[in-house]
């Protein structure tokens, strides 16, 4: 894991790390939103999962703690992220080690 803050414009996204983020997001979303079915990468955060602002921050906190990272939130608007995969791409390109 990078110790420096990385952005997509500076370096290519590590596909393995992005997959780790997707796995963590799916697990955390399923738990926080108390969903019966499995969460998958193409699912829409709002339309499919009904994610709102406050649980979105809880989700982010859990993902950060699980992966040992801090996401750069200055340019993050979860409301603008359409799918789980979109959010994973953002996180994988805007993070630093915690």
């Amino acid at each position: 894991m990078e110790s420096q803050h990385t952005t997509a414009s500076e370096t290519a996204i590590d596909p393995l790390f992005r997959q780790q983020v997707i796995d963590a997001l799916c697990e955390v979303l399923q738990r926080i939103l108390e969903l019966d079915g499995q969460v998958t990468a193409p699912m829409h955060l709002r339309e499919d999962l009904g994610l709102k602002s406050e649980p979105a921050l809880e989700m982010l906190l859990d993902v950060e703690e699980q992966l040992g990272i801090q996401v750069d939130t200055e340019f993050l608007d979860v409301d603008e992220m359409r799918t789980v995969a979109d959010l994973a791409t953002f996180i994988a390109s805007h993070y630093r080690a915690a």
Binding site: K52, S53, E54, L57, E58, L60, L61, E64, T73, E74, F75, L76, D77, D79
Partner: protein, 309 residues
């Protein structure tokens, strides 16, 4: 043109970490982690044992110009978020006016726009002065105690601190001239009568505040790029991060450093932030800046004021 001739903010020296009020307000350990990590909240300013009138007086006594202008002060407008803050028949505003020798002034309180009432009071003071004799002044006061758990904590959003501010307003001053004021009142976002609208309020919060900010800038005859600094309400960091994304405005031109050390100071945020901006030399003569506030509770108000230093 209406101007803030002098501004004084009193922020008590006592700082308390948000963990210290967790039991009182029902803040969980997880909410504390969220507040610290994303909302940028950390400590709050408190004035334990200091009554409301003394808090207001501490701010007013910081106005060095006030004693000399005392007889010219025609209006005293007290802006606060809470409609009732002391038991009847106490009136902290009257006590403050007596202590300052301002019994002759027309005196009233505005609370209708909650935490946005501070900017409303400035606008009202300007309107009153415009219809009054030359050489008149108005004193705007704001300041509040976190006297109940409800007054100290907005779940998922912010934690309040205690502070006060005082502004001497004139219709002809040159210190900080008011170029425009815009506000949007949204009565449908009433958390008592229509709690089901809470999620709609969250959804519209930033777009509505952005719209009001753009309106104030436009009515001042400026572009957003002309705004040197934004003096925000201290609601939290992430709201301003997202608002800046929406506005396309650089976050480093929003004075957010007091969020972590003061908490949300009700109506006094923008004045305390003004004082910090002056102390840090962030405002140069001629700079245009914007003050923003949102009042929520019994309806919501989004407000922005553009001034020139």
């Amino acid at each position: 043109m209406m101007a803030l001739d002098a501004v004084s903010a009193y922020v008590p020296a006592t700082r308390v970490p948000i963990e210290a009020i967790a039991d009182r307000v029902g803040l969980s350990e997880r909410q504390i982690r969220l507040f610290r990590r994303f909302h940028g909240l950390g400590d709050i300013a408190l004035a334990p044992g200091m009554p409301l009138d003394e808090l207001l007086l501490a701010a007013a006594r910081g106005l060095r110009e006030l004693p000399d202008r005392r007889h010219q002060v025609r209006f005293v407008v007290y802006a606060r978020a809470m409609p009732v803050v002391v038991p009847y028949p106490d009136n902290p505003l009257h006590a403050v006016c007596r202590a300052l020798g301002l019994e002759h002034a027309l005196t009233f309180t505005v609370t209708q726009q909650s935490c946005a009432s501070g900017l409303l009071a400035i606008d009202l003071a300007g309107r009153l002065l415009a219809g009054d004799q030359d050489g008149s002044f108005a004193l705007v006061l704001t300041g509040e105690k976190t006297f109940t758990p409800h007054a100290q904590f907005i779940p998922g959003t912010s934690v309040f601190g205690e502070a006060a501010a005082a502004c001497l307003i004139s219709s002809t001053g040159k210190q900080d001239r008011v170029l425009s004021y815009a506000c949007a009142q949204r009565g449908e976002f009433d958390d008592n009568w229509r709690p089901e609208n809470a999620s709609q309020f969250q959804q519209e919060y930033r777009p509505e505040l952005a719209r009001v900010i753009r309106q104030a800038v436009r009515e001042a005859g400026l572009d957003l790029d002309d705004i040197r600094l934004v003096l925000p309400h201290n609601v939290n960091l992430i709201t301003w991060q997202r608002l800046c994304l929406l506005l396309g405005f650089p976050l480093d031109r929003v004075l957010l450093r007091n969020v972590a050390t003061h908490g949300h100071l009700f109506c006094a945020d923008v004045f305390a932030n003004y004082q910090t901006a002056r102390a840090l030399g962030l405002l140069q003569p001629g700079d245009c800046y914007l003050a923003a506030a949102v009042g929520a509770g019994y309806g919501a108000t989004f407000a922005a004021m553009v001034l020139q230093h």
